[in-house]
Protein backbone atom coordinates (compact mmCIF):
# COMPACT_ATOMS: atom_id res chain seq x y z
CA UNK A 1 0.00 0.00 0.00
CA UNK A 2 1.26 3.44 -0.88
CA UNK A 3 0.41 6.68 0.89
CA UNK A 4 -1.86 7.94 -1.88
CA UNK A 5 -4.10 5.01 -1.01
CA UNK A 6 -3.82 5.89 2.68
CA UNK A 7 -5.04 9.39 1.78
CA UNK A 8 -8.44 8.09 0.58
CA UNK A 9 -8.96 5.01 2.72
CA UNK A 10 -11.21 5.23 5.80
CA UNK A 11 -12.66 2.86 8.37
CA UNK A 12 -16.37 2.13 8.04
CA UNK A 13 -17.32 0.50 11.32
CA UNK A 14 -20.70 0.72 12.93
CA UNK A 15 -20.85 3.84 15.12
CA UNK A 16 -17.94 5.61 13.43
CA UNK A 17 -18.77 8.94 11.75
CA UNK A 18 -15.83 9.67 9.43
CA UNK A 19 -13.21 7.03 10.28
CA UNK A 20 -10.57 9.27 8.72
CA UNK A 21 -7.63 9.74 8.60
CA UNK A 22 -6.46 6.31 9.63
CA UNK A 23 -3.53 6.17 12.03
CA UNK A 24 -0.52 4.37 10.65
CA UNK A 25 2.03 2.21 12.46
CA UNK A 26 4.80 0.93 10.26
CA UNK A 27 6.95 -2.16 10.84
CA UNK A 28 8.48 -2.29 7.37
CA UNK A 29 8.42 0.09 4.44
CA UNK A 30 10.37 0.21 1.19
CA UNK A 31 11.01 2.74 -1.54
CA UNK A 32 10.48 1.87 -5.16
CA UNK A 33 11.29 4.63 -7.61
CA UNK A 34 8.87 5.50 -10.39
CA UNK A 35 8.82 8.26 -12.98
CA UNK A 36 7.52 11.64 -11.85
CA UNK A 37 4.45 13.04 -13.61
CA UNK A 38 4.19 16.77 -12.83
CA UNK A 39 0.75 17.17 -14.46
CA UNK A 40 -0.63 14.39 -12.32
CA UNK A 41 0.78 15.95 -9.14
CA UNK A 42 -0.59 19.36 -10.08
CA UNK A 43 -4.06 17.86 -10.53
CA UNK A 44 -4.05 15.89 -7.33
CA UNK A 45 -2.60 18.57 -5.03
CA UNK A 46 -5.91 20.37 -4.26
CA UNK A 47 -7.61 17.04 -3.52
CA UNK A 48 -5.09 15.77 -0.98
CA UNK A 49 -5.52 15.84 2.77
CA UNK A 50 -2.08 17.28 3.40
CA UNK A 51 -1.98 16.73 7.16
CA UNK A 52 -2.97 13.09 6.76
CA UNK A 53 -0.23 12.65 4.16
CA UNK A 54 2.41 14.42 6.25
CA UNK A 55 1.51 12.31 9.31
CA UNK A 56 1.59 9.09 7.29
CA UNK A 57 4.94 10.01 5.73
CA UNK A 58 6.37 10.58 9.22
CA UNK A 59 4.94 7.29 10.46
CA UNK A 60 6.49 5.51 7.48
CA UNK A 61 9.92 6.61 8.73
CA UNK A 62 10.42 9.84 6.76
CA UNK A 63 9.63 12.59 9.28
CA UNK A 64 11.59 15.23 7.33
CA UNK A 65 10.20 14.50 3.87
CA UNK A 66 7.15 16.80 4.00
CA UNK A 67 6.52 20.02 5.95
CA UNK A 68 3.56 19.98 8.35
CA UNK A 69 1.78 22.68 6.33
CA UNK A 70 1.25 22.47 2.60
CA UNK A 71 3.67 24.61 0.55
CA UNK A 72 2.19 26.99 -2.03
CA UNK A 73 1.57 25.85 -5.58
CA UNK A 74 4.29 28.23 -6.77
CA UNK A 75 6.86 26.40 -4.63
CA UNK A 76 5.84 23.05 -6.09
CA UNK A 77 5.74 24.01 -9.71
CA UNK A 78 8.60 26.49 -9.99
CA UNK A 79 10.49 26.24 -13.28
CA UNK A 80 12.69 23.16 -13.28
CA UNK A 81 11.60 22.05 -9.79
CA UNK A 82 11.03 18.50 -11.00
CA UNK A 83 14.74 18.23 -11.89
CA UNK A 84 16.04 18.91 -8.37
CA UNK A 85 16.57 15.98 -6.07
CA UNK A 86 15.30 17.84 -3.02
CA UNK A 87 12.52 20.02 -4.47
CA UNK A 88 9.02 20.03 -2.91
CA UNK A 89 7.53 18.33 -5.97
CA UNK A 90 10.08 15.50 -5.82
CA UNK A 91 9.30 15.03 -2.14
CA UNK A 92 5.56 14.95 -2.78
CA UNK A 93 6.07 12.40 -5.57
CA UNK A 94 8.11 10.22 -3.23
CA UNK A 95 5.55 10.48 -0.43
CA UNK A 96 2.55 9.63 -2.62
CA UNK A 97 3.88 7.07 -5.04
CA UNK A 98 7.27 5.69 -3.99
CA UNK A 99 6.92 4.71 -0.32
CA UNK A 100 5.34 1.28 0.05
CA UNK A 101 4.04 0.13 3.45
CA UNK A 102 4.83 -3.60 3.55
CA UNK A 103 4.05 -4.50 7.15
CA UNK A 104 2.20 -2.46 9.74
CA UNK A 105 -1.18 -1.44 11.09
CA UNK A 106 -3.93 1.04 10.25
CA UNK A 107 -5.84 2.42 13.20
CA UNK A 108 -9.39 3.80 13.11
CA UNK A 109 -9.15 7.30 14.68
CA UNK A 110 -12.53 6.99 16.41
CA UNK A 111 -12.88 3.39 17.54
CA UNK A 112 -9.23 2.44 17.85
CA UNK A 113 -9.95 -0.72 15.81
CA UNK A 114 -6.76 -1.90 14.14
CA UNK A 115 -6.45 -3.21 10.59
CA UNK A 116 -3.27 -5.20 9.88
CA UNK A 117 -1.17 -4.59 6.76
CA UNK A 118 0.56 -7.78 5.65
CA UNK A 119 2.64 -8.20 2.49
CA UNK A 120 1.53 -4.70 1.57
CA UNK A 121 -2.21 -5.47 1.76
CA UNK A 122 -4.36 -3.82 4.46
CA UNK A 123 -7.10 -6.10 5.75
CA UNK A 124 -10.22 -3.93 6.12
CA UNK A 125 -12.61 -6.87 6.56
CA UNK A 126 -15.09 -6.19 9.38
CA UNK A 127 -16.51 -8.74 11.80
CA UNK A 128 -20.25 -9.33 11.54
CA UNK A 129 -21.00 -7.29 14.68
CA UNK A 130 -18.98 -4.32 13.34
CA UNK A 131 -20.96 -3.91 10.12
CA UNK A 132 -23.52 -1.09 9.85
CA UNK A 133 -27.07 -2.33 9.86
Amino acid sequence: MRLLTHNFLASNMKGVSTGYPLGLEVVKSTIKEVELNADFLRGILPKLDWRALAAATSAAGYPDLLPAEQPSEAEFFAEGAAEFEDSPIRRLHRALLEIHIDEGTLVCPESGRTFPIQKGVPNMILHEDEVRA
Partner: protein, 222 residues
Amino acid sequence: MKLKQLEGLLGGLTQFSNPKVELEQYATGPHIASRMLYTAENSFGDITGKVVADFGCGCGTLAVASALLDAEHVTGIDIDLQSLELAQENADDLELDIDLIQCDIKNLNLKGLLVDTVVMNPPFGTKRNGADMEFLSMGLKAASQAVYSLHKTSTREYIKKAALRNCNALSAEVLCELRYDLPQTYEFHKKKEVDVAVDLWRFVPRARDESTAERHGNKMRP
Protein backbone atom coordinates in the same frame (compact mmCIF):
# COMPACT_ATOMS: atom_id res chain seq x y z
CA MET B 1 -0.48 0.66 -26.60
CA LYS B 2 -2.50 -1.08 -29.30
CA LEU B 3 -5.65 -3.04 -28.44
CA LYS B 4 -4.19 -6.34 -29.68
CA GLN B 5 -1.07 -5.80 -27.59
CA LEU B 6 -3.16 -5.11 -24.47
CA GLU B 7 -5.32 -8.18 -25.10
CA GLY B 8 -2.20 -10.28 -25.61
CA LEU B 9 -0.64 -9.20 -22.31
CA LEU B 10 -3.90 -9.80 -20.42
CA GLY B 11 -4.10 -13.25 -22.01
CA GLY B 12 -0.92 -14.17 -20.16
CA LEU B 13 -2.34 -13.50 -16.68
CA THR B 14 -2.85 -16.32 -14.20
CA GLN B 15 -6.56 -16.93 -13.51
CA PHE B 16 -8.38 -18.46 -10.54
CA SER B 17 -7.57 -22.14 -10.12
CA ASN B 18 -10.37 -22.80 -7.61
CA PRO B 19 -13.06 -20.16 -8.18
CA LYS B 20 -15.47 -19.54 -5.29
CA VAL B 21 -19.06 -19.88 -6.40
CA GLU B 22 -20.49 -17.80 -3.53
CA LEU B 23 -18.41 -14.81 -4.69
CA GLU B 24 -19.36 -15.39 -8.34
CA GLN B 25 -15.70 -15.45 -9.25
CA TYR B 26 -15.69 -15.42 -13.01
CA ALA B 27 -12.47 -14.29 -14.58
CA THR B 28 -12.78 -11.26 -16.83
CA GLY B 29 -11.47 -12.58 -20.14
CA PRO B 30 -8.73 -10.72 -22.04
CA HIS B 31 -11.10 -9.94 -24.92
CA ILE B 32 -13.63 -8.10 -22.78
CA ALA B 33 -11.13 -6.54 -20.37
CA SER B 34 -8.96 -5.11 -23.14
CA ARG B 35 -11.95 -3.57 -24.96
CA MET B 36 -13.35 -2.14 -21.74
CA LEU B 37 -10.17 -0.33 -20.73
CA TYR B 38 -9.20 0.61 -24.27
CA THR B 39 -12.58 2.31 -24.75
CA ALA B 40 -12.35 4.05 -21.37
CA GLU B 41 -9.03 5.57 -22.37
CA ASN B 42 -9.40 6.18 -26.09
CA SER B 43 -12.96 7.51 -26.10
CA PHE B 44 -13.02 9.28 -22.73
CA GLY B 45 -9.46 9.71 -21.44
CA ASP B 46 -10.43 8.14 -18.09
CA ILE B 47 -7.36 5.91 -17.49
CA THR B 48 -3.97 7.35 -18.48
CA GLY B 49 -2.57 9.59 -15.73
CA LYS B 50 -5.60 8.89 -13.51
CA VAL B 51 -6.24 7.31 -10.11
CA VAL B 52 -8.14 4.11 -10.88
CA ALA B 53 -9.78 1.60 -8.53
CA ASP B 54 -10.84 -1.92 -9.54
CA PHE B 55 -13.80 -3.04 -7.39
CA GLY B 56 -13.90 -6.81 -6.86
CA CYS B 57 -10.60 -7.10 -8.70
CA GLY B 58 -10.24 -10.88 -8.40
CA CYS B 59 -6.97 -11.87 -10.05
CA GLY B 60 -6.53 -8.25 -11.09
CA THR B 61 -7.25 -8.26 -14.83
CA LEU B 62 -8.87 -4.80 -15.00
CA ALA B 63 -6.36 -3.34 -12.53
CA VAL B 64 -3.46 -4.69 -14.60
CA ALA B 65 -5.08 -3.40 -17.81
CA SER B 66 -5.40 0.07 -16.22
CA ALA B 67 -1.74 0.04 -15.19
CA LEU B 68 -0.70 -1.11 -18.68
CA LEU B 69 -2.54 1.91 -20.09
CA ASP B 70 -0.49 4.13 -17.75
CA ALA B 71 -2.95 4.91 -15.01
CA GLU B 72 -0.86 6.87 -12.51
CA HIS B 73 -2.12 4.93 -9.49
CA VAL B 74 -4.18 1.73 -9.43
CA THR B 75 -5.86 0.04 -6.45
CA GLY B 76 -7.44 -3.40 -6.61
CA ILE B 77 -10.01 -4.20 -3.94
CA ASP B 78 -11.38 -7.66 -3.19
CA ILE B 79 -12.77 -9.58 -0.22
CA ASP B 80 -10.78 -12.69 -1.06
CA LEU B 81 -7.12 -12.82 0.00
CA GLN B 82 -6.23 -15.63 -2.42
CA SER B 83 -7.47 -13.50 -5.32
CA LEU B 84 -5.39 -10.56 -4.10
CA GLU B 85 -2.29 -12.75 -3.92
CA LEU B 86 -2.92 -13.79 -7.50
CA ALA B 87 -3.43 -10.15 -8.50
CA GLN B 88 -0.10 -9.29 -6.84
CA GLU B 89 1.66 -12.07 -8.80
CA ASN B 90 0.10 -10.90 -12.05
CA ALA B 91 1.19 -7.31 -11.40
CA ASP B 92 4.70 -8.41 -10.39
CA ASP B 93 5.08 -10.52 -13.53
CA LEU B 94 4.48 -7.43 -15.66
CA GLU B 95 6.51 -5.17 -13.30
CA LEU B 96 3.49 -3.01 -12.51
CA ASP B 97 2.83 -1.25 -9.18
CA ILE B 98 -0.70 -1.93 -8.01
CA ASP B 99 -2.00 -1.27 -4.49
CA LEU B 100 -4.30 -3.91 -3.05
CA ILE B 101 -6.90 -3.70 -0.29
CA GLN B 102 -8.77 -6.60 1.26
CA CYS B 103 -12.32 -5.39 1.88
CA ASP B 104 -15.93 -6.31 1.28
CA ILE B 105 -17.04 -3.75 -1.33
CA LYS B 106 -20.28 -3.07 0.55
CA ASN B 107 -18.29 -1.97 3.61
CA LEU B 108 -15.75 0.10 1.70
CA ASN B 109 -15.22 3.74 2.71
CA LEU B 110 -13.19 5.86 0.30
CA LYS B 111 -12.92 9.56 1.14
CA GLY B 112 -12.64 12.67 -0.95
CA LEU B 113 -12.22 13.09 -4.69
CA LEU B 114 -8.91 11.35 -5.18
CA VAL B 115 -10.26 8.33 -7.06
CA ASP B 116 -11.00 9.42 -10.64
CA THR B 117 -12.25 6.23 -12.23
CA VAL B 118 -13.72 2.98 -10.93
CA VAL B 119 -13.61 -0.10 -13.17
CA MET B 120 -15.39 -3.30 -12.29
CA ASN B 121 -16.75 -6.62 -13.43
CA PRO B 122 -19.21 -7.02 -10.56
CA PRO B 123 -20.90 -10.24 -9.52
CA PHE B 124 -24.02 -10.42 -11.70
CA GLY B 125 -26.14 -10.96 -8.62
CA THR B 126 -27.32 -14.41 -9.68
CA LYS B 127 -26.03 -16.08 -6.52
CA ARG B 128 -26.65 -13.22 -4.13
CA ASN B 129 -29.41 -10.88 -5.19
CA GLY B 130 -28.48 -7.22 -5.48
CA ALA B 131 -24.72 -7.72 -5.31
CA ASP B 132 -24.31 -6.02 -8.70
CA MET B 133 -26.20 -2.90 -7.63
CA GLU B 134 -24.29 -2.78 -4.35
CA PHE B 135 -21.05 -2.64 -6.33
CA LEU B 136 -22.40 0.01 -8.68
CA SER B 137 -23.67 2.17 -5.86
CA MET B 138 -20.30 2.02 -4.05
CA GLY B 139 -18.47 2.72 -7.31
CA LEU B 140 -20.49 5.86 -7.93
CA LYS B 141 -19.74 7.04 -4.38
CA ALA B 142 -16.00 6.53 -4.81
CA ALA B 143 -15.38 7.80 -8.35
CA SER B 144 -15.21 11.51 -9.12
CA GLN B 145 -15.12 11.07 -12.90
CA ALA B 146 -16.59 7.80 -14.22
CA VAL B 147 -17.51 4.20 -13.46
CA TYR B 148 -17.09 1.45 -16.04
CA SER B 149 -18.97 -1.74 -15.38
CA LEU B 150 -20.31 -4.89 -17.04
CA HIS B 151 -23.90 -6.04 -16.59
CA LYS B 152 -26.01 -8.66 -18.30
CA THR B 153 -27.76 -7.23 -21.35
CA SER B 154 -31.00 -8.82 -20.13
CA THR B 155 -30.98 -6.38 -17.17
CA ARG B 156 -30.34 -3.21 -19.24
CA GLU B 157 -33.53 -1.30 -18.46
CA TYR B 158 -33.38 -2.14 -14.78
CA ILE B 159 -29.73 -1.09 -14.48
CA LYS B 160 -30.41 2.26 -16.12
CA LYS B 161 -33.35 3.09 -13.86
CA ALA B 162 -31.66 1.93 -10.69
CA ALA B 163 -28.41 3.76 -11.48
CA LEU B 164 -30.13 7.09 -12.11
CA ARG B 165 -32.70 6.81 -9.31
CA ASN B 166 -30.86 5.07 -6.49
CA CYS B 167 -27.15 5.09 -7.17
CA ASN B 168 -26.28 8.75 -7.61
CA ALA B 169 -25.57 8.49 -11.35
CA LEU B 170 -25.87 11.66 -13.42
CA SER B 171 -25.80 9.62 -16.62
CA ALA B 172 -25.78 5.94 -17.57
CA GLU B 173 -24.78 4.91 -21.06
CA VAL B 174 -24.27 1.54 -22.73
CA LEU B 175 -21.09 1.81 -24.80
CA CYS B 176 -21.27 -1.58 -26.45
CA GLU B 177 -22.55 -5.11 -26.12
CA LEU B 178 -19.99 -7.85 -25.66
CA ARG B 179 -20.13 -11.62 -25.59
CA TYR B 180 -19.03 -13.00 -22.28
CA ASP B 181 -17.60 -16.42 -22.99
CA LEU B 182 -17.79 -18.14 -19.65
CA PRO B 183 -15.77 -21.28 -19.87
CA GLN B 184 -17.31 -24.07 -17.84
CA THR B 185 -16.09 -22.70 -14.53
CA TYR B 186 -18.50 -24.45 -12.23
CA GLU B 187 -20.14 -27.84 -12.19
CA PHE B 188 -23.63 -26.34 -12.39
CA HIS B 189 -22.79 -25.05 -15.84
CA LYS B 190 -24.26 -27.79 -17.98
CA LYS B 191 -23.10 -26.62 -21.39
CA LYS B 192 -19.40 -26.54 -22.16
CA GLU B 193 -19.41 -22.82 -22.85
CA VAL B 194 -22.04 -20.39 -21.63
CA ASP B 195 -22.27 -17.43 -23.94
CA VAL B 196 -23.80 -14.46 -22.11
CA ALA B 197 -24.49 -11.05 -23.65
CA VAL B 198 -23.16 -8.26 -21.43
CA ASP B 199 -23.26 -4.49 -21.74
CA LEU B 200 -20.26 -2.28 -21.16
CA TRP B 201 -21.61 0.71 -19.23
CA ARG B 202 -20.20 4.11 -18.48
CA PHE B 203 -21.75 5.90 -15.52
CA VAL B 204 -20.97 9.46 -14.53
CA PRO B 205 -21.43 10.24 -10.82
CA ARG B 206 -23.26 13.34 -9.64
CA ALA B 207 -20.89 16.03 -8.42
CA ARG B 208 -20.54 15.79 -4.65
CA ASP B 209 -19.44 19.36 -3.98
CA GLU B 210 -18.01 22.46 -5.64
CA SER B 211 -14.56 21.05 -6.18
CA THR B 212 -16.11 18.25 -8.22
CA ALA B 213 -18.04 20.70 -10.35
CA GLU B 214 -14.83 22.60 -10.95
CA ARG B 215 -13.08 19.40 -11.99
CA HIS B 216 -15.78 18.59 -14.50
CA GLY B 217 -15.23 22.05 -15.91
CA ASN B 218 -11.49 21.45 -16.15
CA LYS B 219 -12.06 18.23 -18.02
CA MET B 220 -13.71 20.07 -20.87
CA ARG B 221 -10.59 22.06 -21.68
CA PRO B 222 -8.60 20.71 -24.61
